[in-house]
Symmetry: D2
Subunit: 358 residues, 4 copies
């Protein structure tokens, strides 16, 4: 269904080319200070057309606050955030009406619903992530205010180019310094050149986003199905184009021995500290209080300007080449989406922990 | 909480050393033929003490069917499956009562609940997975009977040793041929030797399990949060010791170009077929009908027989060395758990698809 | 929270005097034909200002379809229906800002949220029911098309005046003939006179709505918590001003003997039929296939034009007398809300029954 | 499905004549002191065979605590409570195997599941309520310890005989003084005589249970669907044989004018108090802090020892007369079930209120 969360519950709606994209946020505690400007600021990080590195499509994507916020504060009742769809050019999609684009959801969407929303992919469009970023802005504000939790993510890999910067010390300023949202100044020029080159070729690039959550109190998460790592994983794997998720040591940890991987304890200023953090801040599904570290793999975007062969719904072979709106690398714009998903998961677990402990 | 699923909903309970481990399965359609023997057969694949490769701890783990099954068939009402805890030696845990084992959930469990279940980890114990395998056996049976869905997984990597066998063609017989549950006969001897050597050293190994789901009908899953890939990811990341999950091309896919990664269509026997399957059988969160391929990374088990330094709850430094029950490699026994989790996720999505389509 | 249903799930938002009232409907099967006009028609039955019998407040309450419907059909994705708030005169509420209106939710709302939404009651306003009627229109359409289910309700009692008409044979035409929505022509003039007289006095009236659901297939509902009767009861008790709910024989049935109350079977045209229907169409929580009959008790509306003494938030005694917008009897406008709630409950159970049966 | 609650979630299982009746309680906060004796004490109030007024069927119904409780306290993990089925005489049911008992769920159960559990009604058996009372005992303990909430209910009406005692002042001692669980000593002898007389005739009686919840903090419940009154109503309507529910003024309130029904405020010891409580302790779906007062109507039990005509599954007319186990009036044993359901609903709303408020 279209709902995420149990206590801080968001329900999104809206197709790429319908009337609007919207989200109802149910369960936001009353009295959180939040303004349209704060939400818009996060949304602008996700907005198409920010720089030469992303899609040139322009959307203002202005947020409208239609319920649940009164005199600058949440009221405890459900919050409706909405953006009207503009820049709709349905004629752009006429050409696609009768064919299946390779590696798009056209064919599976049709199998599921017995119906084809050819107008930009319907719900499969990444436009839906607007709603997640809008809702995430409120979660982020609460987590920051109540617990000083800091949520950051950045582009760590583009194609085969990798940054080796330490996620534990990275700052939001460093991330936002360049439109690429990679805080590693040594590799940014190479990544930028690569993206421009691939764009010229009409092709696209994948990559990896690194996330770090600082200041998360110990005790969030559950020992069985609803491990904090499992809920983060589901949230990230629910983002379009994501093919992999790892926490802490991840796939590399599978090659280590127990004696290497175990994070030993020591005393630091009279408190228990961890010598290493292979766990990635989560042990047995529950937060340790250390930084939560995770990585998210994105495949290259499917829409390319290179000619591809494909099939029509009537099984005819045709040639396809994206017109105009080709985005060579979605990663910079995916950063605020990763942030938002992390905020939504943490928010839900924070409220659950409040409910269930004496 | 302790529930997985929406329409085929399992709720598990039981600590490592309480009275019993149990599961209530709610939402199983009536009239599925299932016997205690069939469930036990899956449970025996997970049972400790199967071979020299796993923990020597012995548990019969016999399943008791206490409700929801009548005259060999499900009744449509909730099914209670239960195993009494035997082989409990609480005295084994007295030594652990006041210390935090490195990379175990002892410390986070205590932070969450304000309470310490020192008897083998309480709910953090992998003993809880008994309940998942028991429930999964019923899901597997239904999926096989109704849709001829085949669910397989196997050990693909142990430490740094990798099998390169093709998951598309592997058989259950090949997997079960060796207690290691790796179908690649060329690498099994090396893996076995490695496990025995590491066991001698008192250390442990991680690895990777490859899963393949065959015959899944197209149309399962949803385009937004509840992507089939996201639900599989959450299910796998909810297994103890799992640090990573990838679907299809996964992390490797992040390095490819769009023109390489896109799976093109062609006609085969008058039907649309996929030339490659980088998607791993799921496009836009919805199954394509192709094989679903995923990989799950396990860290090395934290309990080792090597001496480790750690801290007591009173912040004293102590030495720790596991006595007796050391399991050098959990992967062979994790295979039926991966199978079960995949079955539970597919089952839930199958019922949802039945509900929501005309 | 603000969600009703499990498979046909509606989430509503919007305060009386915020930007909009809206509902997201998640889980509507694809391919249901539905137009804005059909939804508006149900909404117009609920609209204030329809006749001299209700509040003179005017709201156009026009529905906007912003997602999930394409070319006149549901797409299977979430549907957003929205009405902008008009006719807002916040100045009307300034006088109420600092006092507690008797038998309104002002005081409990403040206790819950630590916050006062004095603008017409916030979420406690009956304006929220717009969203339920809008969503119910889609459920009603589906139930009618797929199962020929007919959902009717009507005003059976106003103050102490009762209709004795047979709910089994009443028609929608008879109900809609008079703005009072009572199909009993003998009692309508007395009821109308009573309402006008009470309105003159500045007072208000309660009453009872009778519901009848025809053509509901046998087998809907569940034997334990989610009895169809329990879900109907929750839905009706969730309507503002409702103080009681009964199914079939209801409170009167408590005085009967088992030998009187038991509904015996007989053969009719070779099929099993029920000689009586004290059960009200539901046995053991599951529909029998007979007409489902229930009654809903409404207290008199709390806003009256008579002078009442009350207290301010600073504990000062003050006099209060409603200005202008006094509604002597909400029952006629509550009829479409009862219809909608019944439709939403049946819809959810129909989809569940589809999911869980072979 | 078979789950009640969102944060304090109970899932029940077990048929009348399967292996066991059980409940998993998920979401109980850690550190609640609770013993098997305390739970058993509540269960004994529900137990068949307590007095000459109820069914002579004997069940020990001993509770087994199989998880989630350690050293006399809840651990925060799921609690399994279980009773084995004894006193099973399946041969008693052979006679019923092929016929539909009037006003039992035999026929609807079969329509739903395509299957007949003739062994005492399967899940439709009131035996399932064992699980609710067991779970309710833990909720009651928590509510009493944390909030001094007192949950009471009693038999107010049997057949046409009514008690007029004031629910606001009744005590548990007065209720438990007589096995009838009616605290009104003037009417108890008449009620007792009536029950014995009806039992002689082989017939059965319905009646009404009055509930009163004292000390419930203001602010529980929600303004829309999840009104506290709506959740109490659903819980009560989910009890077998319940045909009606009313809160506060209930159906009688429908005949009053607004000026009569409105509960006015006054100052008492410097605090705001309510002059009357027609609301029944809930305004706009949210608790006021006043006593919560509700009534539950039970139909006469369907199993009677009088001869009745009915039909077999093959449409043959047959005569039916209950053998042995005839219960003339279920109300005394329903009292602890009403208590339990009220406790479960309050518990869930208490935890939700903790989660959602700053």
């Amino acid at each position: 269904m279209n709902t995420l969360g149990n206590l801080f519950k968001i329900t999104t709606c809206g197709e790429s080319h319908g009337g609007a994209i919207a989200v109802i946020i149910d369960g936001a505690p009353p009295n959180i200070s939040i303004s349209a400007e704060e939400i818009q600021q996060e949304l602008d990080r996700r907005r198409p057309g920010q720089s030469s590195l992303t899609t040139p499509r322009h959307e203002r994507d202005q947020v409208h606050l239609l319920s649940g916020i009164f005199e600058g504060k949440t009221t405890g009742t459900p919050i409706l955030l909405l953006a009207y769809n503009e820049d709709m050019r349905p004629e752009d999609y006429q050409a696609l009406k009768n064919l299946y684009r390779p590696s798009h959801a056209d064919i599976t969407y049709e199998k599921k619903y017995g119906f084809r929303d050819f107008r930009g992919g319907g719900r499969a469009s990444a436009r839906e992530t607007w709603a997640r970023v809008a809702a995430g802005a409120i979660a982020k504000k609460y987590l920051q205010q109540q617990f000083q939790i800091e949520i950051l993510s950045y582009v760590q890999q583009v194609g085969t180019l990798c940054s080796t910067i330490d996620p534990n010390t990275v700052s939001r300023e460093a991330i936002e310094r360049h439109p690429l949202r990679c805080p590693d100044e040594r590799i940014v020029p190479q990544m930028t050149d690569l993206i421009h080159a691939v764009q010229e070729e009409g092709d696209s690039l994948g990559g990896v986003i690194q996330g770090v959550l600082r200041g998360v109190p110990a005790g969030l998460g559950a020992p069985v199905f609803d491990k904090l790592s499992a809920d983060l994983g589901k949230a990230m794997l629910g983002i379009n184009a994501v093919k992999g998720f790892e926490i802490g040591s991840g796939f590399a940890g599978a090659s280590l021995r127990g004696s290497q991987h175990n994070d030993s304890f020591f005393l630091k200023d009279g408190k228990i500290a961890y010598a290493t953090n292979h766990a990635g801040g989560i042990l047995g599904g529950i937060s340790t209080g250390e930084n939560i570290l995770f990585r998210v793999a994105f495949k290259p975007v499917s829409t390319i300007a290179k000619e591809q062969k494909t099939l029509t719904i009537d099984h005819q072979e045709v040639s396809l080449r994206a017109q105009g709106r080709h985005d060579p690398c979605v990663l910079p714009r995916a950063v605020p989406i990763v942030d938002a998903m992390a905020a939504l998961v943490l928010m839900d677990h924070c409220l659950l922990q409040k409910a269930q402990n004496l």
